[in-house]
Protein backbone atom coordinates (compact mmCIF):
# COMPACT_ATOMS: atom_id res chain seq x y z
CA UNK A 1 0.00 0.00 0.00
CA UNK A 2 1.27 3.45 -0.86
CA UNK A 3 0.10 7.01 -0.29
CA UNK A 4 -1.35 8.67 -3.37
CA UNK A 5 0.13 12.10 -4.12
CA UNK A 6 -2.19 15.08 -4.31
CA UNK A 7 -4.16 15.01 -7.53
CA UNK A 8 -3.40 11.35 -8.14
CA UNK A 9 -6.99 10.28 -7.54
CA UNK A 10 -9.77 12.25 -9.20
CA UNK A 11 -13.51 11.76 -9.50
CA UNK A 12 -15.88 12.93 -12.17
CA UNK A 13 -18.49 15.50 -11.19
CA UNK A 14 -21.14 12.83 -10.79
CA UNK A 15 -18.79 10.63 -8.78
CA UNK A 16 -19.29 7.70 -11.12
CA UNK A 17 -15.81 7.68 -12.63
CA UNK A 18 -12.60 7.51 -10.62
CA UNK A 19 -9.18 7.91 -12.18
CA UNK A 20 -6.06 6.88 -10.32
CA UNK A 21 -2.79 7.86 -11.94
CA UNK A 22 0.72 7.53 -10.52
CA UNK A 23 4.23 7.63 -11.92
CA UNK A 24 7.50 6.15 -10.73
CA UNK A 25 5.78 4.13 -8.04
CA UNK A 26 8.45 1.94 -6.41
CA UNK A 27 7.50 -1.71 -6.59
CA UNK A 28 9.24 -5.04 -6.30
CA UNK A 29 10.03 -7.40 -9.13
CA UNK A 30 9.99 -10.89 -7.66
CA UNK A 31 9.96 -13.44 -10.47
CA UNK A 32 10.09 -16.50 -8.20
CA UNK A 33 7.24 -15.34 -5.95
CA UNK A 34 5.72 -16.94 -3.88
CA UNK A 35 8.82 -18.95 -3.02
CA UNK A 36 9.89 -18.08 0.52
CA UNK A 37 13.41 -17.13 -0.56
CA UNK A 38 12.36 -15.42 -3.78
CA UNK A 39 14.85 -12.70 -4.58
CA UNK A 40 13.59 -9.19 -5.19
CA UNK A 41 14.70 -6.43 -7.51
CA UNK A 42 13.65 -2.79 -7.27
CA UNK A 43 11.27 -1.81 -10.03
CA UNK A 44 8.98 1.06 -10.93
CA UNK A 45 5.51 1.40 -12.30
CA UNK A 46 3.59 4.15 -14.06
CA UNK A 47 -0.09 3.48 -14.37
CA UNK A 48 -3.49 4.90 -15.11
CA UNK A 49 -6.50 3.10 -13.72
CA UNK A 50 -10.07 4.11 -14.50
CA UNK A 51 -13.09 2.85 -12.59
CA UNK A 52 -16.58 3.41 -13.97
CA UNK A 53 -19.54 2.72 -11.75
CA UNK A 54 -22.37 0.58 -12.99
CA UNK A 55 -25.95 0.50 -11.76
CA UNK A 56 -26.05 -2.77 -9.85
CA UNK A 57 -25.85 -2.03 -6.12
CA UNK A 58 -23.70 -4.19 -3.86
CA UNK A 59 -23.43 -4.44 -0.10
CA UNK A 60 -20.89 -6.58 1.68
CA UNK A 61 -20.99 -6.66 5.46
CA UNK A 62 -19.50 -8.86 8.15
CA UNK A 63 -20.19 -7.75 11.73
CA UNK A 64 -17.71 -10.29 13.06
CA UNK A 65 -14.96 -8.59 11.07
CA UNK A 66 -16.42 -5.15 11.49
CA UNK A 67 -16.69 -3.98 7.92
CA UNK A 68 -19.41 -2.78 5.61
CA UNK A 69 -19.00 -1.85 1.95
CA UNK A 70 -21.84 -0.27 0.01
CA UNK A 71 -21.52 0.72 -3.58
CA UNK A 72 -21.98 -0.47 -7.12
CA UNK A 73 -20.51 -2.98 -9.46
CA UNK A 74 -18.07 -1.26 -11.74
CA UNK A 75 -15.73 -1.68 -14.64
CA UNK A 76 -12.04 -0.98 -14.41
CA UNK A 77 -9.37 -0.57 -17.05
CA UNK A 78 -5.65 -0.21 -16.67
CA UNK A 79 -2.71 1.03 -18.69
CA UNK A 80 0.71 0.59 -17.16
CA UNK A 81 4.42 0.68 -17.79
CA UNK A 82 6.87 -1.32 -15.70
CA UNK A 83 10.61 -1.00 -15.55
CA UNK A 84 13.32 -2.96 -13.81
CA UNK A 85 16.30 -0.64 -14.33
CA UNK A 86 18.99 -2.99 -13.06
CA UNK A 87 18.35 -5.49 -15.85
CA UNK A 88 17.12 -3.05 -18.46
CA UNK A 89 13.68 -4.61 -18.61
CA UNK A 90 10.57 -2.62 -19.47
CA UNK A 91 7.04 -3.61 -20.30
CA UNK A 92 4.39 -1.34 -21.74
CA UNK A 93 0.79 -2.46 -21.72
CA UNK A 94 -1.50 -1.76 -24.61
CA UNK A 95 -3.81 1.26 -24.31
CA UNK A 96 -6.27 1.49 -21.45
CA UNK A 97 -9.29 0.60 -23.56
CA UNK A 98 -7.89 -2.81 -24.42
CA UNK A 99 -7.70 -4.10 -20.86
CA UNK A 100 -10.44 -5.72 -18.84
CA UNK A 101 -10.91 -7.11 -15.37
CA UNK A 102 -13.09 -9.79 -13.83
CA UNK A 103 -14.26 -7.93 -10.74
CA UNK A 104 -14.59 -4.28 -9.83
CA UNK A 105 -16.65 -2.30 -7.37
CA UNK A 106 -16.63 1.27 -6.18
CA UNK A 107 -18.42 2.79 -3.23
CA UNK A 108 -17.99 3.57 0.44
CA UNK A 109 -16.50 1.48 3.21
CA UNK A 110 -16.55 1.69 6.99
CA UNK A 111 -14.59 -0.66 9.18
CA UNK A 112 -12.97 -1.03 12.57
CA UNK A 113 -13.84 1.72 15.03
CA UNK A 114 -16.03 3.44 12.45
CA UNK A 115 -18.21 0.39 12.02
CA UNK A 116 -21.54 0.06 13.79
CA UNK A 117 -23.26 -3.26 13.55
CA UNK A 118 -26.87 -3.18 12.39
CA UNK A 119 -29.41 -3.07 15.19
CA UNK A 120 -31.29 -6.32 15.51
Amino acid sequence: MAPVPAGGLTFSADGKTATLQMTNLPIIDQPRWPALDAETTPAFMDFKLVFKSGVEPVKYEDPSRQYRFEGFEASAQLEARFSVPSIGFTFQSDPLETSRCDFAVMGEEVNGRYYEAPKT
Binding site: M1, A2, P3, V4, G8, L9, F11, A18, L20, L25, P26, I27, I28, D29, Q30, P31, R32, W33, P34, A38, T40, A43, M45, L49, F51, V58, Y60, D62, R65, Y67, F69, G71, A74, A76, L78, F82, V84, I87, G88, F89, F91, Q92, S93, D94, T98, S99, R100, C101, D102, F103, A104, V105, M106, E108, E109, V110, N111, G112, R113, Y114
Partner: protein, 135 residues
Protein backbone atom coordinates in the same frame (compact mmCIF):
# COMPACT_ATOMS: atom_id res chain seq x y z
CA UNK B 1 21.20 -20.21 -12.87
CA UNK B 2 18.20 -19.40 -15.00
CA UNK B 3 17.90 -16.24 -17.02
CA UNK B 4 15.87 -13.78 -14.98
CA UNK B 5 14.52 -12.12 -18.08
CA UNK B 6 13.33 -15.45 -19.39
CA UNK B 7 11.67 -16.16 -16.05
CA UNK B 8 9.97 -12.84 -16.23
CA UNK B 9 8.89 -13.44 -19.79
CA UNK B 10 7.58 -16.84 -18.90
CA UNK B 11 5.59 -15.47 -16.00
CA UNK B 12 4.03 -12.90 -18.24
CA UNK B 13 2.33 -15.77 -19.95
CA UNK B 14 1.73 -18.09 -17.07
CA UNK B 15 0.25 -15.91 -14.44
CA UNK B 16 0.32 -16.96 -10.84
CA UNK B 17 -2.33 -18.97 -9.13
CA UNK B 18 -1.50 -18.06 -5.57
CA UNK B 19 -3.53 -15.35 -4.00
CA UNK B 20 -1.41 -12.39 -3.26
CA UNK B 21 -0.77 -8.82 -4.04
CA UNK B 22 -1.01 -7.34 -7.49
CA UNK B 23 0.89 -9.31 -10.05
CA UNK B 24 1.69 -7.04 -12.92
CA UNK B 25 3.00 -8.19 -15.22
CA UNK B 26 4.66 -11.08 -13.47
CA UNK B 27 5.55 -10.84 -9.83
CA UNK B 28 5.96 -7.13 -10.02
CA UNK B 29 4.71 -6.78 -6.52
CA UNK B 30 2.86 -3.73 -5.35
CA UNK B 31 4.05 -0.65 -3.69
CA UNK B 32 5.76 -0.91 -0.34
CA UNK B 33 4.04 0.21 2.80
CA UNK B 34 3.66 3.80 3.87
CA UNK B 35 6.80 5.81 4.43
CA UNK B 36 8.63 5.63 7.71
CA UNK B 37 7.61 9.18 8.55
CA UNK B 38 4.46 7.77 10.11
CA UNK B 39 6.38 5.43 12.41
CA UNK B 40 5.89 5.97 16.15
CA UNK B 41 7.88 8.85 17.54
CA UNK B 42 9.85 8.51 20.74
CA UNK B 43 7.79 10.46 23.28
CA UNK B 44 9.52 13.44 24.82
CA UNK B 45 8.87 14.98 28.24
CA UNK B 46 6.97 11.93 29.47
CA UNK B 47 4.24 12.36 26.86
CA UNK B 48 1.91 9.47 26.16
CA UNK B 49 2.97 6.97 23.55
CA UNK B 50 0.13 6.81 21.05
CA UNK B 51 1.80 4.90 18.28
CA UNK B 52 2.52 6.24 14.85
CA UNK B 53 0.16 7.70 12.31
CA UNK B 54 0.58 4.82 9.84
CA UNK B 55 -2.76 3.23 8.98
CA UNK B 56 -3.63 0.00 10.75
CA UNK B 57 -3.52 -3.01 8.43
CA UNK B 58 -6.55 -5.25 8.22
CA UNK B 59 -5.94 -7.64 11.15
CA UNK B 60 -6.28 -10.82 9.16
CA UNK B 61 -4.02 -9.73 6.32
CA UNK B 62 -0.35 -10.59 6.31
CA UNK B 63 2.35 -8.15 7.30
CA UNK B 64 2.76 -6.91 3.74
CA UNK B 65 -0.91 -6.06 3.55
CA UNK B 66 -1.63 -8.88 1.14
CA UNK B 67 -5.20 -10.03 1.14
CA UNK B 68 -4.21 -13.55 0.09
CA UNK B 69 -7.65 -13.92 -1.34
CA UNK B 70 -9.05 -12.55 -4.56
CA UNK B 71 -11.20 -9.48 -4.42
CA UNK B 72 -14.83 -10.46 -4.71
CA UNK B 73 -18.21 -10.31 -3.07
CA UNK B 74 -18.31 -10.60 0.70
CA UNK B 75 -14.62 -10.16 1.36
CA UNK B 76 -12.93 -7.20 2.99
CA UNK B 77 -11.90 -4.90 0.17
CA UNK B 78 -9.96 -2.30 2.13
CA UNK B 79 -6.31 -2.57 3.12
CA UNK B 80 -6.80 -0.18 6.05
CA UNK B 81 -8.54 -0.95 9.32
CA UNK B 82 -10.33 1.81 11.24
CA UNK B 83 -11.21 3.44 7.94
CA UNK B 84 -14.20 5.20 6.45
CA UNK B 85 -14.39 6.66 2.99
CA UNK B 86 -14.42 5.99 -0.70
CA UNK B 87 -13.08 2.70 -1.90
CA UNK B 88 -12.65 1.11 -5.30
CA UNK B 89 -11.16 -2.30 -5.87
CA UNK B 90 -10.68 -4.40 -8.96
CA UNK B 91 -8.98 -7.68 -9.69
CA UNK B 92 -8.40 -10.21 -12.40
CA UNK B 93 -6.93 -7.93 -15.01
CA UNK B 94 -6.15 -9.18 -18.47
CA UNK B 95 -4.42 -7.39 -21.28
CA UNK B 96 -1.58 -7.39 -23.74
CA UNK B 97 1.63 -5.43 -23.90
CA UNK B 98 5.10 -5.22 -25.34
CA UNK B 99 8.45 -5.59 -23.63
CA UNK B 100 11.61 -3.70 -24.53
CA UNK B 101 12.65 -6.50 -26.88
CA UNK B 102 9.49 -6.02 -28.90
CA UNK B 103 7.92 -9.22 -27.64
CA UNK B 104 4.15 -9.21 -27.42
CA UNK B 105 3.05 -10.63 -24.06
CA UNK B 106 -0.18 -11.03 -22.16
CA UNK B 107 -0.24 -9.56 -18.68
CA UNK B 108 -2.43 -10.02 -15.68
CA UNK B 109 -3.60 -12.88 -13.51
CA UNK B 110 -6.54 -13.61 -11.26
CA UNK B 111 -4.67 -11.86 -8.46
CA UNK B 112 -3.71 -8.73 -10.38
CA UNK B 113 -5.58 -6.26 -8.25
CA UNK B 114 -5.63 -2.55 -7.56
CA UNK B 115 -7.56 -0.39 -5.16
CA UNK B 116 -7.92 3.13 -3.89
CA UNK B 117 -8.95 4.22 -0.42
CA UNK B 118 -9.75 7.88 0.12
CA UNK B 119 -11.14 9.13 3.36
CA UNK B 120 -10.34 9.06 7.04
CA UNK B 121 -8.44 6.54 9.09
CA UNK B 122 -7.78 6.33 12.80
CA UNK B 123 -4.27 6.01 14.18
CA UNK B 124 -2.32 7.42 17.10
CA UNK B 125 -5.64 8.16 18.82
CA UNK B 126 -6.81 10.62 16.21
CA UNK B 127 -8.36 10.72 12.76
CA UNK B 128 -6.19 11.35 9.71
CA UNK B 129 -7.23 12.17 6.16
CA UNK B 130 -5.51 10.08 3.55
CA UNK B 131 -5.55 8.67 0.05
CA UNK B 132 -3.86 5.34 -0.52
CA UNK B 133 -3.54 2.74 -3.20
CA UNK B 134 -2.94 -0.97 -3.03
CA UNK B 135 -1.23 -2.24 -6.15
Amino acid sequence: MSDPVMNRRRLLNLGVSSFGLASLPSRLIGAPSSPESCSPAIPQNHEASNGGSCPYPIPWLDKNGNHNQPAGPDVELSSIYHFKGKLGRCSGFHGMGTDNQGNRRPWGTATTDFSYMAGEYWAARQPHPGVFTHT
